[in-house]
Symmetry: C2
Subunit: 353 residues, 2 copies
């Protein structure tokens, strides 16, 4: 089962409800783009590549459900739907990337029916390519993992964060598939605990040995020489390699650097936003403080009544802390300003072939 | 109410049960040293100065409850109780410090009754001095906080972590008492969430504005220029200033350094273990993985069934990351090898006066 799948028969979108994992494996179906935008906002689906693909199908639903019979009216409906979908979450660029890719693909002269076909076909192409791209990143990255390594991983970047296979966790999974004996230290990843909920669940499905740790414990394991590399994803990367990723990634990368442990961001080129000079320009989503405050232990709330919280969902890791950036076009090393642009171009040429 | 108090009338120890805060404020009474050791191990009482004082009273209970009538037999009982108390938790040196201070204070020639009096009196002196020492540290440290500052704090180091007042949180509280307008970012401090449970509760009692944050979010606030200083405690500090403190402190200190934000460890000289050359020699307690795995949200467990975890309770922050060390003898700056020893000597001379 893919995380995100188009139901051809009923012409609707089916996704795994990630909020209910690991307790329950449930599929939810979506009939219109507003519901898809809501699912992205409430994190039924999360992970930069996954929300890109979901937004693509959201646009397909907007095209199919639009009552417009004239192409111009349909184009207007699509433009409005695109804005709704892009506004669902601000940090991951894949949302805007997928929506723009589809809109740019629309032929200048076409009937409404033809436009509908093109939108759906391009959304499906984005989803299918995502799996292919993940497998390519996984092979490039797995070469950096050695038999016997312990690696550290932040958030969830597996099959659940993509259409299938995964980015950073896909690299780890590929190394395991290649027969390398590895151990994964899984950051639980507060506040939404995607590490504890989703990555631990995926690793147990794949039979890869792991241990959950508190996010703050990464420094202990890194400084005691127990870790050979860290792998994480990315939600938006600037032209200089600065990368916005799940909150806590920056501190993990600092601890890697302080102990000369390699730190890799694993991102498809669709996550690279060449229009931004540096990470300072990436918008950071501030989410509901309830995500920090809703924790329970033994059935009781942890924080005192009336407690307040702040909840930035992402932070920016400066590219000076990255050993390399793993893309579908290969592993990119400094100088990132030059080499990232080349990787994006190489990926485009490959896609065009 | 002090966190730790001797009940003169009933000759027993009374402590706040910190595991039940903030939901419930409950006092528990202890009649023998085994129960005190258990309370330290299960974290009814925690915080380096607090468990030092609790161990002192534990030894007093051992003296009072011992059936020995001969001084030699009583000394043997005390030595056995000292071992039980010291074994309760390995990292904080204050446990051993308090127990040894009392044993070294015993007169060479004395009746069993006199020995009992001396043990109890010295335990009470340790507790009373703790409050005095905290107030002195608080005044030294508060001078480093300016009106309008936002400071970041890890774990709980307040009145609950000491006999009364607090170490790092005592510094923050003193700045507030002096009329400085301050805002505190409170690391929730996984896995046991002493920040969310205890520090948030204390700050609301004192009327100091704060916001809870995930531990991994500290880097975001530090790198966006919103924080002027970080204050944390210490469980054991080596002669070179390396300090073992609650897990996550090292990554916080790294993020401070990367953003040129001051980071202070606030420790009484009883936390400084001059017998250790560096932090590499500090034993780190590995606690039950259940502390990581027992998290719930909406009444459901977060981690999948069968998940495994690793749970180091402390990490070591190298002294190169500390801007200064705040002790009762003043703020100590590098070179720490020389200046920490001087501070310990100054504190001893002061205590001897």
């Amino acid at each position: 089962v893919r995380t995100i799948e188009w139901d051809e028969q009923n012409q609707r979108l089916r996704m795994i409800d990630q909020r209910r994992l690991p307790a329950e494996f449930a599929l939810v179906e979506y009939d219109d783009h507003q519901a898809v935008a809501q699912a992205i906002q409430t994190m039924v689906v999360r992970g930069a590549p996954a929300i890109g693909a979901a937004a693509g199908f959201g646009l397909a639903l907007a095209a199919l459900r639009s009552t417009a019979s004239e192409p111009a009216a349909l184009r207007a409906d699509l433009a409005a739907a695109a804005e709704t979908l892009k506004a669902a979450r601000p940090t991951a660029v894949n949302l805007a990337w997928a929506v723009h890719r589809i809109l740019e693909h629309l032929p200048a002269e076409a009937s409404a029916a033809e436009l509908r076909r093109v939108v759906l076909a391009e959304a499906q192409r984005i989803a299918d390519e995502d799996v292919e791209i993940n497998l390519r990143m996984a092979r490039h990255g797995a070469a950096l993992i050695h038999d016997g390594d312990t690696v550290i991983h932040h958030c969830n970047t597996g099959a659940l964060a993509t259409v299938d296979w995964g980015t950073a966790l896909g690299v780890i999974r590929m190394a395991h598939t290649q027969g390398k004996r590895i151990h994964v230290l899984v950051d639980e990843t507060r506040p939404r605990l995607q590490g504890a909920r989703l990555t631990a669940w995926e690793l147990s499905q794949y039979g890869i040995p792991y241990d959950l740790i508190s996010d703050g414990a990464a420094g202990y394991f890194l400084s005691s020489g127990q870790v050979q590399a860290a792998f994480f994803g990315g939600d938006r990367m600037a032209a200089n390699g600065d990368v916005a990723n799940k909150i806590g990634t920056y501190m993990l990368a600092l601890a890697c650097r302080d102990n000369s442990v390699s730190a890799y961001s694993v991102v498809p080129t669709s996550t690279i936003d060449l229009s931004l000079v540096s990470g300072a320009q990436i918008p950071i989503e501030l989410r509901d403080p309830t995500e920090v405050l809703s924790l329970q232990v033994d059935g009781s709330p942890v924080a005192p009544a009336g407690a307040t919280a702040l909840n930035p969902a992402f932070d920016v890791t400066p590219s000076r802390l990255l050993t390399g950036i793993i893309t579908e076009a290969g592993v990119v090393y400094p100088p990132y300003e030059i080499n990232l642009r080349r990787a994006v171009q190489a990926a485009h040429s490959e896609a065009a072939r």
